[in-house]
């Protein structure tokens, strides 16, 4: 990477001349591109850990308890190995309920806060946003570096809860009080780790907002900013406004746990056979309000960057302008605003005043409209296109129907009378996984294939990419669609052994199918991991703009040098000028002089 001096607005506070040490350049770097890649690798690692945990859980759920003719002396190969590896957490290869609850809480926490959000926001956001707006770096490069290291420390602290007495936190990623207040010590570490992780996110959010508002290059008005950047801007505002509420709420939970306060503890609460030693007078429902005030906007933090990525990939690979740029951006902003007034749809049955339900049903069903609008625009973007079916496009295209299923299944949940039956069942799990897994996560896999050439100067192998695509999307459907059946039948969430309740037996067969799908999904990630590392040295070398795209990240070398652009770009037009009549090529980059 060459240092470059010939650009104004170069971030202050780092070395110009002289070679940088390995540590400064690749480890403690303030360059947004290095930080983005650090976030990417770290979040993929956390995603793998979270996936490993759920794989163990799905194995448990397929055959949760021993059959009548079970012989503990003759364990099969898999159960025997698990019993040996995990000791009394998986006695005879069957999972104990506390270990099940631990894996469950950690799976949710890791996938959301350490996996998908850092990947979508901090990894791709960091790498791409300054490039797309023609900036040499983020507004606050050192704060950026600090965000990454705080995130890494937060993640390590979260995982270290394994070593607490009685292990990982086990009160769900939702950590409802009072269960979370009386839970074993791992939960204290959850609170501390969340405070650390949230702090990292808040620093990042500030950085993104200031960068996008202040550091756009000449000619890059807000109306010419790519949809991906708009998505990141709305996301950053959501994080900034919503996360402090959970950080505060987690701090209150920590105080209840270690300092004897009673924010969430009611009077005369029992703990086993004794009265819990706290003054009482607090409210368990308070925790739910504070938690969901963040956690609802959080789901749009999971979603919007993915919608942004899909918009970019579709525009590039249809060779025509995106349909309804203004409608898409306006809808993203509307989703952001509305996301603050829907949180209590998670609480219809919590004991909160029942008349409030009507308000939240109305706002919840209303927020479905801008989501539908975005999906309609992306669908109509295909009309009249010249569609190229490369690997990133396959992921981006599949996002549309998969998010469609996820969004549609949100309707019976947001609608209180049907939620009466579906609340806390597998229908909820199926709904949100559709949006997050074949939805957001698949889009982010597409983003990896799409921006890898810019990050590393080489393409990933497209054949391996297509194998990865099919072995990801198809199994995901066989995992999450049956959950809708299980939930419709009334099978509750978070059951270590659903077969102990006879009303669940009629849908237990699906869990076996789901396990085989999980195994296929796991095998399907091998071509991706291999491809990622193999292509670093052996992928086809690319120049600046391998996809013939119009946005500014493709107007600099691959990979870009420190400072990104050899001279500050000047923008003349909007971000999706493809197939302009009369132009010699089918794309007209934003910075190309007319």
């Amino acid at each position: 990477m060459k240092d470059s001096h010939a650009h104004p607005g170069h971030g202050a506070g780092h070395d110009h001349g002289g070679p940088q040490s390995f540590w400064r350049k690749y480890v403690f770097s303030v360059d947004h591109k290095v930080i983005g890649i650090q976030y990417m690798i770290t979040s993929f690692l956390f995603l793998l850990i979270g996936f490993g945990m759920i794989s163990l859980m799905r194995y448990q759920l397929a055959w949760p308890s021993p059959p009548d003719d079970f012989d503990p002396e003759k364990l099969g190969m898999i159960r025997g190995t698990l019993a040996w590896l995990l000791g009394d957490r998986m006695e005879y290869g069957f999972m104990k309920p506390d270990f099940y609850n631990q894996l469950g809480a950690m799976h949710g926490t890791i996938m959301i806060f350490l996996g998908v959000v850092p990947l979508g926001v901090a990894a791709f956001g960091n790498f791409v946003v300054p490039l797309q707006i023609g900036a040499p770096d983020m507004a606050f490069p050192r704060l950026n570096m600090m965000s990454y290291w705080i995130y890494l420390v937060g993640g390590i602290v979260m995982l270290s809860s394994y070593f607490a007495p009685d292990g990982f936190p086990q009160s769900g990623w939702t950590s409802y009080a009072p269960l979370s207040v009386v839970a074993p010590p791992g939960q204290t570490i959850w609170c501390i780790a969340m405070i650390i992780i949230i702090t990292s996110s808040l620093f990042g959010a500030i950085n993104f907002i200031v960068t996008m508002l202040n550091m756009r290059c000449q000619g890059m008005s807000l109306g010419r900013m790519p949809v991906f950047c708009w998505a990141q801007l709305v996301t950053a505002v959501l994080l900034l406004v919503a996360f402090p509420v959970l950080e505060g709420g987690a701090l209150l939970q920590l105080l209840d746990r270690v300092a004897g306060t009673s924010f969430y503890i009611p009077k005369d609460m029992m703990y086993g056979s004794t009265v819990f030693p706290a003054a009482g007078g607090g409210s368990p429902i308070l925790w739910q309000h504070l938690f969901w005030f963040l956690a609802h906007p959080e789901v749009y933090v999971l979603l919007l960057p993915a919608m942004g990525v899909v918009s970019e990939i579709i525009a590039t690979n249809t060779r025509k302008p995106l349909f309804g740029y203004k409608e898409i951006v306006g809808s993203m902003i509307l989703i952001g605003v509305l996301s603050f007034v829907v949180w209590a749809h998670h609480m219809f049955l919590s004991g909160m005043r029942t008349s409030l339900a009507n308000l939240f049903v109305t706002t919840t069903l209303t927020i479905s409209v801008p989501s539908v609008a975005i999906l309609t625009c992306l669908l109509l973007s295909l009309r009249g296109g010249a569609i190229r079916f490369n690997t990133p496009m396959l992921f981006a295209l599949s996002f549309l129907p998969m998010f469609g299923i996820g969004g549609l299944t949100g309707l019976p949940l947001g609608f209180a009378p049907t939620d009466l039956h579906l609340h806390d069942t597998y229908y909820v799990i199926g709904h949100f996984h559709y949006v997050v897994a074949p939805g957001s996560l698949a889009a982010l896999m597409g983003a990896t294939y799409y921006w890898y050439p810019k990050m590393f100067g080489r393409r990933m192998n497209d054949t391996l990419g297509k194998i990865h695509f099919w072995m990801t999307i198809v199994p995901m459907n066989f995992i999450f669609f049956p959950m809708l059946f299980q939930g419709m039948h009334g099978m509750q969430r978070r059951l270590a052994d659903p077969t102990l309740q006879w009303h669940n037996l009629p849908v237990q067969g699906w869990s076996v199918i789901m396990l085989f799908a999980v195994v296929t999904l796991a095998i399907g990630q091998i071509p991706f991991l291999f491809n990622f590392f193999w292509s670093l040295r052996n992928g086809e070398v690319v120049e600046e703009n391998p996809w013939n795209s119009t946005t500014l990240e493709w107007a600099c070398p691959s990979p870009p040098p420190h400072g990104n652009f050899l001279k500050e770009p000047v923008v003349f037009r909007g971000p999706y000028e493809y197939s302009v009549p009369g132009h010699k090529t089918d794309y007209l980059p934003q910075d190309e002089a007319a």
């Binding site: 059959p67 060779r319 009507n358 669908l379 296109g385 009466l420 419709m488 509750q492 059951l495 102990l500």
Partner: protein, 267 residues
């Protein structure tokens, strides 16, 4: 690989409550609309993928039309949703969650949930609940019933089993001793969080007799998966007999005819 009594069911379990019919109708309507939207959308999606795939030398279309028309699906969905809320959402929610039947016509039962059991308190023939006190809670007295309170002498306390008469409303007045639980009976199409320090309520009128499972629908600790019970919906005579037998067992009277005969009790 699959055990004999495991199934691959697709849809709702047997409906038993008076409001289950309405809720099931709504559930089915919603899903018909959802599937309809998805199918129509997908057909157009696949059509676009085939019709607009890249061909040599051909470019995309630069000028787009139909910006205003693209608002039509958004508008239709918004209109459908608002109709659902006004026509069904608000009335059904009000009826199920706020429209508790008059206590004189209903069986009242107190539920005290704990890690990991459902404790039911019936008022007994006198129709009055005995006082409960947390300081009296013990292994043999899970709800802390005060045996000095005369109203509590004929109270029936059952664990994990809820007997109710068919065709008549039962009102559950619920609280938890420790953490949040959620009383769920899938056949009723209703559930309600049971919260410590608060009183929540769930009412239902079962329309057929039988045994229906109670599950906990809020993670409550290690025993969450084992926290089960059963609702036994009985005919009026069966219920009356059951209640007499329970009272007789409790008060130790061999001849339960001394005790007031009505299952409803006097208020």
């Amino acid at each position: 690989m699959i055990r004999e009594n495991w199934g691959f069911d697709l849809w709702l379990p047997e409906p038993v409550s008076s409001y289950a019919g309405e809720i099931d109708w709504l559930m089915n309507l919603l899903h018909v609309v959802m599937v309809g939207i998805f199918v129509v959308w997908s057909i157009y999606f696949v059509y676009c993928l085939v019709a607009y795939r890249a061909r040599d030398g051909q470019r995309g279309v630069y000028h787009q039309s139909g910006e205003k028309a693209s608002f039509i699906p958004d508008g239709l969905i918004l209109a459908f949703e608002m109709w659902l809320i006004l026509a069904f959402g608000i009335p059904i929610w009000a009826a199920v969650k706020q429209g508790t039947p008059p206590p004189e016509d209903s069986l009242q039962v107190n539920l005290v949930a704990q890690q990991f059991a459902w404790n039911f308190q019936y008022p007994g023939p006198d129709g009055k609940f005995g006082r409960r006190d947390i300081s009296l809670v013990s292994a043999s007295n899970p709800i802390g019933l005060d045996d000095k309170d005369p109203d509590g002498k004929d109270d029936i306390v059952t664990i994990n089993n809820l007997n109710v008469p068919v065709g008549k409303p039962t009102i559950l007045n619920m609280t938890s001793k420790d953490v949040i639980h959620d009383f769920q009976v899938v056949n009723l199409r209703n559930k309600q969080d049971v919260v410590p320090g608060m009183h929540t309520r769930l009412w239902f009128t079962p329309e057929k007799t039988g045994k229906f499972e109670i599950g906990c629908a809020q993670l409550c600790g290690l025993g969450h998966t084992q926290m089960v019970g059963n609702v036994f919906v009985q005919t009026a005579e069966e219920f009356a007999d059951w209640q007499k037998a329970q009272v007789a067992e409790k008060t130790g009277t061999a001849d339960a005819r001394d005790v007031a005969p009505t299952a409803e009790g006097r208020s």
